[in-house]
Structure formats: structure tokens, C-alpha cells
Symmetry: C2
Subunit: 273 residues, 2 copies
């Protein structure tokens, strides 16, 4: 068997992007076993030397070249990394700068990029998070008019994590509201939601998966039983269809996929680019 | 003045990564004005044709080439996009596949990558989000032993968004606990935190910025006054220093930077790669 291959994600900032992108490349090589190390905030000569040492140590220990996914804006640090680290260097930044300079007809600033206005983003996100936390799980119907989207669906179908993700990642004020057996027996939407029908977005889920999720919470309960989950999902889907509310099945989707699909389908304005 | 330049982020998945990476490149060209369009979930021929049409329409309208940041795993769709769209094509995926295949000595699967196990991630994240919401702002001290990290600091210094980000993005169970004037007058940590000192991580903030944030919430209050913010921050910092709690200044940092720095400094285990 091949020994594990070390992979380093090296960035002058958080490294989150480099990791995501690098990992999506690595999923193309499922038969290889990787050891992953993230080295964020590589900004000084001293950080750089540490990183190079770690990478070169892996070469010795594993008798093969590590993979380095790199995102460093500073030219000197970038060059030195390329020269001194013995690795397959995959650079997510530098190779794109020259074509951009040529096409745009201007020189790049070569400044370690900070994403736009930290201040503006921060206020907007804080405000969205406050709103979303306050309007989680139908906790209040006050100020629902301030919501940009209101997610509805049965308990545990993914409303809370999706709302929080929309707020945190995109600054979107996302409320969420459970559909309960009461709503199903009356065959209509909760009264408090009626003025905001145009903002409603439904989430649904495979009953088997829902039951599995609910079992984690309340094992053996009627609430978690497959029978009950089937019935709740069927009633919720019928209600949402009758009310012509756009609906998304969350079953096999990650939180990122659910959130992005909602933004796309509901044409929500994202507050950060 | 140059007309605005259209930028397209084209992905077969959510497009979030392509946007972040593309935007960090664009920050290098501050004098150019960009119009940004994200085209996520480009998976079929039909989606592809729509995307190509939009891009080529921009060429006509703006009389200049758009920039396209691309991440498409499927070879055919990728090729056709490159052939038929008249744009500067910056591909975050394909150029890295060949070097990886060569270095690893295996062929890539060319399958649209899904990040590992959606199921595992989902449970872990849900569980972390539940925990974090339950332990927001010191709401309960029950099960605090289950926290992987406990953020402390004065009200509005960034504890809540950071905790939620740690939970959502990395599946880390992050509690947070406010430091209040009561704690400052007793010159000690809240009793309920004492058993978990080794899990504490302090956040601090510039008093001017804190006052600005609090004014957004309660304008004109004593709570938001610069005078009071100065005193609270000074007392909190003194307390955390005396108790030898690692501390991070959040003032000029984004939520991502704060979260990643904490993971790094507190050596937290991240649950997703």
C-alpha cells in the first residue's frame, strides 16, 4: 500500500478557501489516502520558514513529495515558498494575476487582499444573525416583515442551520417557522404567515432521513417514528403545493447547497460579493 | 471612464468557493468597477447554453470581454464553455488535475465532487449548532463539559457570530459566556466557568468600535457609551490576563479570521477537511 500523502493548505489569510478548493480537487482521487495540514496566516518570513520546514520534513518522512495548495499574495514570500519547499506546488493565486492584468490593462496592487469593508460586512451580518436567532423556529412573529425569506417545513428538516448559514455567510435576514400537526389538520398556513406568503420558501425531506434525524434527538418517540414522519412530510408537501410555495428537498444536500439554491430560486439579494 | 466589466462565477456546484477566490483576485484591481453575476449548479447542456448566452450578451453590451471564473468538473461542459464563451476564462479546477494525476500516479475520477459524507457532516453540524445555540450568551451552564471551546468577553465583542461560525463551518461545539460588571467587581471568573478554564478563549475589542456596535443596538445608553465600553474592556482584559486566558482582539477582523485564529491558537480539532 502507498504511504499516506501529506497535503498542505498554505495561505496568508484564513486558508478556508484554499482548503475547500483543494479538497474538491482531492475528491477526484479517492483511492489515495491524504494527511491534511492547514497553515493559515503565513505573513512573515518567520511563518514562511516554519511552513517550509514542515513541508520538507514531510518529504523526508514520507519519501515522496507533499502536495501544497497555495494562496499567498506577497510576491517575495510566494517565490521563496516555491523555491525552497520540495513539493508539488498548486498555486490558486499567482497564475491568475498576469492574465487579469493583461485583460484589464492595469497593474494589480499586490496587496494582501482583505475582503471589502470588514465594518460594513460585520454590521450587516450581526444584524442578520440577531434577526435570524430571534426568528428561529417561529419564536416570534414580531418584525416578520423585516425578513428577506421565511423558511417553512416540518421540525428537523434543516430550517435552522440553513437560516443561520444565510445570515452568517450572506447577511440575509432569514426567519424560519415550523409546520406542525395543527397546521395540517386545519389544512392551511399559520395565520401569522399569511401576510408574508411571497417570502415563504418550503423545505422538505425524505421521511426515512427525517426519522433518522429525529431518532438522534428523541429515540423511540412517536415524533421520530417513520410512520409519523411519513405523515407529517406528506401533509406538509400537500399544503405547500396547494399554496404554491416554492419547495426544496434537502435530503441529500449540504447546508451550503440548500442555502445557495434558495438564494438562486427565490432571487434573494446577497449582501456580500 | 471605463465601462463596468462583467464578472461571472460559473460552477457546477454552489459557486461559493469560486466567488470567494475570484473576489480575492479582484480586490487586487481596485480601480476597476465590476458587475458580478454568479451562475451556480451548471450541470446540464441546457444550463450551459444559458450561461454561454449570458456571457456573450455581456460582450456585446459592454464591448469588452467579461471575466469568467470557472469551476466545472465535467470535461465536456468545461470544454464547450471554453470554446463558445468569449471571455477571459480563469479555471480553478482543470489546470490542477493533470499535475495532480502525474504526481499521484493515478487517474482522477472526473466525477462532480461531493464533499465527503453529507450525512456525517450534517449530523455533526446539526449537533454542534444545537449545542452552540443552547449555550449562547451563557444561557445555560448545563453540559458545559461538552463544549470544545468556551468564548468569553464583554457583551457585543463578537462571541455569538464566532461561535455559530465555528459550529456551522467546522462542526465545533462552541459555547459562549459574557463577562459582566459583576465579574469585574469580584475580580474573578464566573464560578460556573472555573471547572473549564482550560477551554476558555477570550475575545476583546477596541472600546471605540465596541461603543459604535452597541450604539446600533441601544443608542444613547450608558451601556453603549464610550466611557463605559472603555471601562468594561479594560476590566475584562485585566481579568483574562490575570487568569492567563488566551485572548484575541477582534476589532479589525472578519468572522472567518476570528474563527480560524481561535482554531489555530487553541489547537481545536476541526471536524471537516
Amino acid at each position: 500500500m502507498e504511504p499516506r500523502r501529506s497535503v498542505f493548505f498554505v495561505s496568508d489569510r484564513t486558508g478556508i478557501t484554499v482548503e475547500i478548493l483543494g479538497n474538491s480537487l482531492l475528491t477526484q482521487f479517492e483511492e489515495v489516502s491524504f494527511r491534511r495540514v492547514t497553515l493559515p496566516f503565513i505573513q512573515s518570513r518567520h511563518d514562511l520558514q516554519n511552513a517550509i520546514d514542515q513541508i520538507n520534513r514531510a518529504v523526508e518522512e514520507e519519501q515522496q513529495k507533499p502536495i501544497v495548495f497555495l494562496s499567498i499574495v506577497d510576491d517575495d514570500i510566494n517565490c521563496e515558498m516555491r523555491e525552497k519547499a520540495n513539493a508539488l506546488m498548486l498555486d490558486f493565486f499567482q497564475p491568475f494575476i498576469l492574465p487579469l492584468e493583461k485583460e484589464l490593462g492595469v497593474k494589480s496592487s499586490h496587496a494582501a487582499g482583505r475582503s471589502h469593508s470588514v465594518n460594513y460586512d460585520y454590521f450587516r451580518r450581526m444584524e442578520a444573525i440577531n434577526f435570524t436567532q430571534m426568528h428561529d423556529d417561529g419564536a416570534t412573529t414580531r418584525d416578520l416583515a423585516g425578513a428577506e425569506v421565511i423558511l417553512i417545513g416540518v421540525s428537523r428538516c434543516g430550517k435552522t442551520p440553513t437560516s443561520l448559514y444565510l445570515a452568517l455567510q450572506f447577511g440575509i435576514r432569514a426567519a424560519n417557522f415550523p409546520l406542525t400537526p395543527d397546521d395540517f389538520s386545519s389544512h392551511k398556513l399559520p395565520d401569522s404567515l399569511l401576510p408574508f406568503r411571497h417570502k415563504l420558501f418550503g423545505l422538505t425531506i425524505d421521511p426515512k432521513r427525517l426519522s433518522q434525524i429525529r431518532q438522534e434527538r428523541r429515540a423511540g418517540s412517536h415524533y421520530a417514528s417513520l410512520e409519523n414522519c411519513r405523515q407529517e412530510v406528506r401533509s406538509a408537501e400537500a399544503l405547500m403545493e396547494r399554496e404554491k410555495i416554492p419547495t426544496l428537498d434537502t435530503t441529500a444536500k449540504s447546508i451550503e447547497e440548500i442555502a445557495t439554491t434558495i438564494i438562486h430560486q427565490a432571487k434573494l439579494k446577497r449582501h456580500f460579493d
